[in-house]
């Protein structure tokens, strides 16, 4: 299908492009950006006056709960929620049930994704067999089946020696290793940030050192092996500073942060709100500010949703006994753009953190809108108001602390490979 979007503001952070013009789509690719090529005869024309178009978001961490936990969510339900949130590519960590430690699981997920709305679904393969932390997984086979990187999710490794061997082996195939920085022995039974609030609430705390100690070990091994490591979901200011220093020294290391870490703090756990139960935990305000500063400087080059949908019962109980995680696909874009309103980032910089930034980390072709790029994009109305309401959610996980928040701007249409994956219902449009 050929499509012409006219008079639209095109924002493409991959090459600092920001101008009003035309976006021409031919089949699954962008034909031209800005000017309409001679002889282009679109089958569909869209008047983009007053609208923005930018690359579809790439989310580096979104759990779809399939296979294994379909009572929480499915690939079909969550990809639709992703599309509504302007996300066109999602990356699933390997801790499904069974875990993604063989080509069979990758193929199963790919099959289910093909039956869904069209949002691109990628997988991380397991670093160790069954994620048990002992024997290395067959990473080459996982890569050939489509794994974009390898990770052990939040499961512990038997020793730093296993991690060293895993980094060395993954490097053989140029695989990026995705590691959360969390020392599980220091985490213990902790369920929130260790500090004044955890002391007051009587909840077991997770110290800052659970992140920084793990990060110290990771950095030492990156230096030793030269492996390309992506640190997933930083939560502390000190952790962000360690990443910045390592990058300045030339280590091949990148990092992301979950969008909610840039807005919420330990205070949001007050009154034992289970929607504030996440791992890594919501930290202190100085951590939130430190993470924001690192995102602003580009030392943290990606913002992810860390989407973890749950059924209602998973969050119904005393705080420590509830399951951690926030349903976040539909708030990734609004929160990221809120950073622009907060004066922290320019519009292009904010969009870069959810498009070209994550694309670079896992070598995705998408995340840009130049001629020849994949036609994954978002048509966005910057003036529409949207209130986050539970009943509007497309994700089956309704575990969000952001219900009741109002955002300026709304996704009008989300396109993947030159086809609409989601369109805002007409009654919701402001025009």
């Amino acid at each position: 299908m050929s499509v012409l979007i006219e008079n639209v503001r095109i924002i493409d952070p991959a090459d600092d492009y920001d101008a009003v013009g035309a976006l021409c789509v031919q089949g699954a690719e962008i034909l031209a950006r800005g000017q309409i090529p001679d002889g282009f005869e679109p089958r569909r024309r869209i008047d983009g006056s007053g609208l923005w178009v930018f690359p579809g978001l790439i989310d580096l961490s979104a759990r779809m709960r399939e296979p294994g936990e379909e009572h929480k969510a499915t690939i079909a339900s969550e990809t639709l929620a992703a599309a509504r949130g302007g996300i066109t590519s999602v990356v699933i960590p390997p801790d499904t049930d069974p875990p993604i430690d063989s080509p069979a699981e990758i193929e199963l997920i790919a099959r289910r994704a093909r039956q869904a709305c069209g949002v691109r679904v990628y997988t991380l393969g397991a670093l160790t067999q069954r994620l048990e932390g002992q024997q290395l997984a067959e990473m080459a086979a996982l890569q050939q089946a489509g794994a974009r990187g390898v990770s052990n999710a939040h499961k512990p490794l038997a020793s730093l020696l296993v991690l060293r061997r895993a980094l060395e082996y993954a490097t053989t195939f140029g695989l990026t290793i995705v590691l959360p920085a969390q020392d599980l022995s220091l985490t213990g039974s902790g369920c929130m940030h260790e500090g004044a609030v955890s002391t007051r609430l009587g909840l077991s705390g997770i110290p800052e050192a659970a992140e920084t100690a793990a990060l110290g070990a990771i950095l030492a091994l990156v230096e030793q092996t030269g492996a390309r490591v992506h640190v997933a979901r930083l939560s502390t200011r000190r952790g962000a500073e360690m990443i910045a220093k390592a990058r300045a020294e030339g280590l091949p290391i990148t990092a992301d942060v979950a969008a909610h870490q840039l807005f919420l703090t330990e205070v949001d756990v007050a009154e034992y709100d289970p929607n504030g139960h996440v791992i890594p935990p919501l930290r202190a305000q100085r951590d939130r500010d430190g993470l924001r500063a690192a995102v602003a400087r580009g030392e943290i080059s990606a913002i992810c949703s860390d989407h973890q949908p749950h059924e209602a019962d998973a969050k119904l109980g005393p705080f420590a006994g509830t399951e951690p995680g926030i349903s976040a696909l539909e708030t990734l874009l609004p929160l990221t753009l809120r950073l622009v309103e907060d004066g922290l980032l320019s519009l292009g910089e904010a969009l870069a953190r959810v498009t070209s930034g994550p694309a670079e980390i896992l070598d995705f072709e998408q995340g840009r809108l130049g001629a020849g790029a994949r036609a994954d994009f978002v048509l966005y109305d910057p003036t529409a108001l949207q209130e986050m309401r539970k009943q509007d959610w497309l994700s089956t996980g309704r575990n969000s602390p952001f219900f009741g928040w109002t955002f300026t701007g709304q996704v009008r249409e989300t396109w993947v490979a030159g086809r609409p994956a989601w369109t805002q219902p007409t009654e919701g449009n402001t025009e």
């Binding site: 600092d16 492009y17 920001d18 213990g188 039974s189 260790e194 500090g195 004044a196 609030v197 955890s198 002391t199 007051r200 609430l201 009587g202 909840l203 077991s204 705390g205 110290p207 807005f263 703090t265 330990e266 205070v267 007050a270 009154e271 034992y272 305000q285 939130r288 500010d289 924001r292 500063a293 602003a296 400087r297 019962d313 119904l316 109980g317 005393p318 705080f319 420590a320 006994g321 309103e341 907060d342 004066g343 922290l344 980032l345 320019s346 519009l347 292009g348 910089e349």
Partner: protein, 340 residues
């Protein structure tokens, strides 16, 4: 590209509040009466004094031959204990019976919870029996808040201890004991000694002492038994018992909660007793009229010497007695708030 930002600008960002007391809308009615008792934190001085004054009237009554009054006749109170307890459960039961309430003791170890029923389902079933009050003890912090948030209107929840969080009636009976012996809190130095990290009692005592404007509140423990940022609760921290006991008017000893200790907190009970055990010799460092308190059960020879636990300074058994009066006061007040 639109304007870029060289340095992070946070001025425009929403400033988050500093950690403060929990909002009280859950446990107080709109006119400030006690609807539930979940935590001491955030209650005001007048309300604490009102509870202690009410407890005083019950204490006088409990010393008489006929100890029963019909204040809660026709009411049903459920003791919902998910964690073992003898002393607390018994005093709650006795308090309820002396107010003429009907009391159900639910033994969770033999209940539906072990058959997989959720906490909320257990609660709903009991609610369906038209009960008026739950007295809840649970190993998870925040359970009393969770239950209070989900019970039907008209049912009160009293926290009889949740995880490491709060044990408000214990703190109130401690305050009652101190007030009976010492009167004005503003001139007192109080030391809480021992396993602060795992103690819900200590947290509630600290809040209560601060609300009552106690002259100085100290906590004394090795660093491995102190929670993070404990000084932000409004206490002076001591790691040396001798220094911590100097001139204090009240010593509250805490039990070492070995069942809650996941990892290495202490090398041995022997060394702990050497450094943090309250002995007759150490007691001499305190004010000559110092009270010795313990929420029980006490480990003799681990945190306290028998001669001190049974000695003239000890008010440990009085604490138990006063516990009944304080619980009667709280029960009658929350029921009164509902009736009003």
């Amino acid at each position: 590209m639109s304007d870029t930002v060289d340095t992070p600008v946070l001025a425009g960002a929403t400033r988050l509040p500093e950690p403060g007391p929990l909002p009280n809308h859950l446990q107080l009615t709109d006119d400030g009466q006690l609807r539930h008792l979940l935590t001491i934190e955030g209650l005001n001085r007048d309300l604490l004094n009102e509870i202690l004054d009410t407890a005083e009237s019950f204490a006088n009554m409990n010393e008489k031959a006929v100890k029963k009054v019909p204040l809660l006749r026709g009411k049903t109170i459920v003791n919902l204990f998910f964690e073992a307890s003898t002393r607390t459960r018994t005093t709650f039961e006795l308090a309820a019976k002396r107010l003429s309430a009907d009391v159900l003791n639910i033994n969770i170890s033999t209940s539906s919870a072990v058959k997989g029923e959720s906490l909320l389902d257990t609660l709903r079933n009991l609610e369906a029996m038209n009960v008026d009050m739950f007295v809840v003890r649970h190993e998870e912090s925040g359970t009393a808040h969770f239950i209070a948030r989900h019970v039907a209107p008209g049912i009160s929840v009293l926290n009889a201890g949740d995880g490491r969080h709060a044990h408000p009636t214990q703190a109130l009976l401690d305050m009652f004991t101190i007030r009976r012996h010492k009167g004005d809190f503003t001139k007192l130095k109080v030391a809480i000694v021992g396993d602060i990290l795992h103690s819900r009692v200590a947290r509630s005592q600290i809040h209560a002492l601060n609300i009552l404007q106690t002259g100085e509140v100290r906590v004394v423990a090795p660093c491995s038994l102190l929670p993070a940022n404990v000084d932000q609760l409004g206490v002076h921290v001591y790691n040396d018992l001798d220094a911590g006991l100097k001139d204090v008017d009240v010593i509250i000893m805490l039990r070492l909660q070995r069942e809650r200790m996941e990892h290495a907190h202490l090398p041995s009970e022997h060394e702990y007793y050497q450094l943090f055990g309250l002995t007759s010799r150490r007691l001499q460092l305190a004010h000559p009229t110092c009270l010795v308190m313990h929420p029980g059960p006490a480990n003799r020879g681990v945190e306290i010497e028998s001669a001190v636990a049974d000695g003239p300074h000890s008010v440990i058994l009085q604490q138990v007695t006063y516990g009944i009066s304080v619980r009667q006061a709280v029960m009658s007040m929350v029921m009164g708030a509902h009736q009003s």
